[in-house]
């Protein structure tokens, strides 16, 4: 069975379990679900890309609703445009004011089109930077949720300085005097992901992927053939497990069997626990030290890989 078939069957059972069944029927469904769960134990990188991009996977607004209170949306880069592919604002996490933002992919095709499938343009990065600078000013920790196929490859995006906007975010984030936590929840592709990912702590969900470029783009550049994406997935080492081994990320947040969309609440709880743990650890760190620690982290981000050599 392919991951697609397994997933479809699991979603069908998720739905069926919501209505009443005879004892016998229930037992059969539970038994089948358990078998499907076992089949999900050894997913390939390509399977994970499928799950990371799943339409039913929790999205930024789900995370904000579940984890934060008193959310106030911030819009616009205050230069020229509101880029809806970046979504965020000010909220409270367990009473603590924070700045929270991330890529917005949308739950259905209409929504996705409205937010450009989570592919930011320069204005989106500039909005994110505006929000993060404000967070620094008011001493708010920053939490970012990464889930994007990459920066939008469009004419206007280039015209308006896509490169400069991403570069500015990387440079400025490295020096912000407030703690930053990033969580790759779905797919994190290219500079479009990293532009809100220069954080003190970087986590990934168990089935999330994070890479230099989408597998399609990777295959297109190296082999001039985007149809070889599946092959690229296996070569790219883009899973959470790979990145933890490289020392590029700090931890993995577990997902229910078959992916986050089968039990979003469990994922929200796991993220909540992680943030509480990290906030407790941050208590004795000064604002300047957050900037220094983050600089050191990215200065030495390849150290583990280099030492293994």
């Amino acid at each position: 069975m392919t991951i697609r078939e397994i997933d479809e069957r699991m979603i069908a059972i998720d739905e069926a379990m919501k209505s009443d069944h005879s004892e016998e029927e229930s037992q059969a469904l539970i038994k089948e679900y358990a078998e499907l769960t076992t089949a999900c134990e050894n997913l390939s990188a390509h399977d994970k890309v499928f799950l990371a991009r799943h339409r039913k996977r929790p999205k930024i607004d789900d995370y904000i609703n579940a984890l934060f209170d008193d959310f106030f949306i911030q819009r616009g880069d205050f230069l020229s445009k509101e880029d809806k592919s970046i979504f965020g604002g000010i909220a409270r996490f367990h009473g603590i004011p924070v700045t929270v933002l991330g890529h917005r992919k949308g739950h259905n095709i209409t929504e996705s089109m409205e937010v450009n499938f989570g592919m930011p343009e320069p204005e989106g990065y500039r909005k994110a930077l505006r929000m993060m600078k404000q967070a620094e000013k008011f001493g708010r920790p920053i939490i970012t949720f990464i889930d994007t196929p990459g920066a939008y490859p469009g004419l206007e995006a280039e015209q308006h300085g896509q490169s400069n906007a991403i570069a500015a975010n990387l440079a400025e984030m490295s020096a912000l005097k407030t703690p930053i936590i990033s969580i790759v929840t779905g797919e994190g592709s290219s500079g479009g992901a990293l532009a809100i990912g220069v954080a003190n702590r970087v986590y990934m969900l168990e089935n999330a992927v994070y890479s230099v470029l989408s597998p399609e783009g990777f295959a297109s550049i190296l082999w001039k053939d985007s149809n070889r994406a599946a092959e690229a997935c296996d070569l790219m080492k883009l899973t959470a497990q790979d990145l933890l081994r490289f020392g590029v990320i700090d931890g993995i947040i577990p997902e229910p069997a078959g992916g986050a969309h089968h039990d979003p609440d469990a994922v929200f709880k796991a993220i909540e626990r992680m943030i509480i743990k990290e906030f407790n650890g941050f208590k004795r760190t000064s604002p300047a030290d957050f900037a220094r620690d983050r600089y050191e982290k990215f200065r030495n981000i390849d150290e583990k890989v280099r030492k293994e050599k």
Partner: protein, 331 residues
């Protein structure tokens, strides 16, 4: 002294000061071409930091043996005109007919740029790593090292421009399209760190297709690493000049290349984030003529000045002079 006298005195002083400034301005111009060996631009005093520990000895200029290549024919891809390689070298590979700026190797560019005998390479040992276990990657790097005479996609060191010392970094598109993996990212970062410690300005010639796919996520992380290095260098008050050459795209254009204090570009250079082919596929239409060229960027406000290759050296020397800390007014 009554009030009127006081005012007159202040007025006189002001006038005297203005006169001095005028003198200073008029004396600046000839000094651009003055050779003042040993003087370090952009510093208050001689750097306490010892550069010797991080620099290799200057390369001996090789004795010129017979050079069969000099007699070969070079065909300009811009206008199809034909020239001897020997003559193209004299004009820095800018076509004398149509003005097209052809690619030149990092080593050749460095030779054109610095005062003869002043360049010393940074001693930055970076182990060759293959994080993705990409097939035949090590072999590819080795063969490129032999072919180009470079250890990796970037040549970095300290040299002098008309007597003014600077850290100079030149990327080489001849080495895997100048793509940025761990080695390139590390060298660029070290160059900024050394420039900061030695209180020297830094000049970078970019030429890159972007992040190096073969090193996967570690290449992406070099963007954050180098951008952070620029930020730190900038906060220390250092001068960073970028010269964008053909091509500067992807992960390099979206990190250190676009974070300079002064941004120059060579005529006709392709500069952008996403490649034109990808954009055409996305928007489903042909891109306008001249899209993503240096001239296009200048029009849209992302380049200070487009400078022809033969003029770059002089322009850089002028910029170093303009940022000479010794010449800062004490107000």
């Amino acid at each position: 002294m009554d009030h009127k006298e006081k005012v007159m005195n202040i007025f006189k002083k002001k006038k005297a000061r203005a006169g001095k400034q005028e003198d200073a301005v008029s004396s600046v111009k000839p000094e651009i071409s003055d050779r003042r060996a040993g003087e370090t631009a952009g510093t208050d005093e001689a750097p306490a930091y010892s550069l010797d520990s991080v620099l290799e000895a200057p390369e001996e200029s090789k004795s010129k043996g017979p050079d069969p290549k000099a007699q070969e024919i070079f065909t300009c891809t811009g206008c199809n005109s034909q020239h001897l390689i020997r003559d193209m070298r004299k004009v820095l590979f800018v076509c004398p007919e149509c003005g097209k700026h052809h690619k030149i190797s990092a080593r050749r560019r460095m030779r054109y740029l610095v005062d003869p005998g002043t360049f010393r390479k940074l001693r930055v040992p970076v182990p060759m790593v293959n994080p993705l276990d990409y097939p035949e990657y090590e072999d590819k790097i080795k063969s490129l090292q032999d072919k180009t005479g470079m250890e990796e996609g970037v040549l970095a060191g300290v040299g002098e421009l008309e007597g003014r010392k600077a850290v100079i970094v030149v990327m080489g598109s001849e080495f895997l399209m100048g793509s940025m993996g761990i080695a390139v990212g590390e060298k660029v970062t070290r160059a900024f760190e050394i420039a900061e410690k030695a209180k020297l300005p830094i000049i970078i010639f970019t030429a890159s297709g972007g992040a190096r796919m073969q090193e996967g996520i570690l290449s992406l992380m070099q963007m954050a690493k180098t951008a952070a290095a620029v930020k730190r260098f900038s906060e220390s008050g250092g001068l960073y000049i970028a010269v964008l050459t053909h091509p500067t795209t992807g992960g390099v254009s979206a990190s250190f290349a676009t974070l300079a204090d002064i941004t120059l570009a060579e005529p006709g250079a392709l500069i952008g984030f996403a490649g034109p082919r990808v954009i055409e596929q996305t928007i489903g239409q042909k891109l306008p003529e001249g899209f993503q060229t240096a001239e296009y960027l200048e029009t849209h406000g992302f380049v200070d000045e487009i400078v022809k290759r033969p003029d770059i050296r002089g322009e850089l020397a002028k910029l170093l002079l303009l940022h000479d800390k010794k010449r800062r007014p004490t107000l």
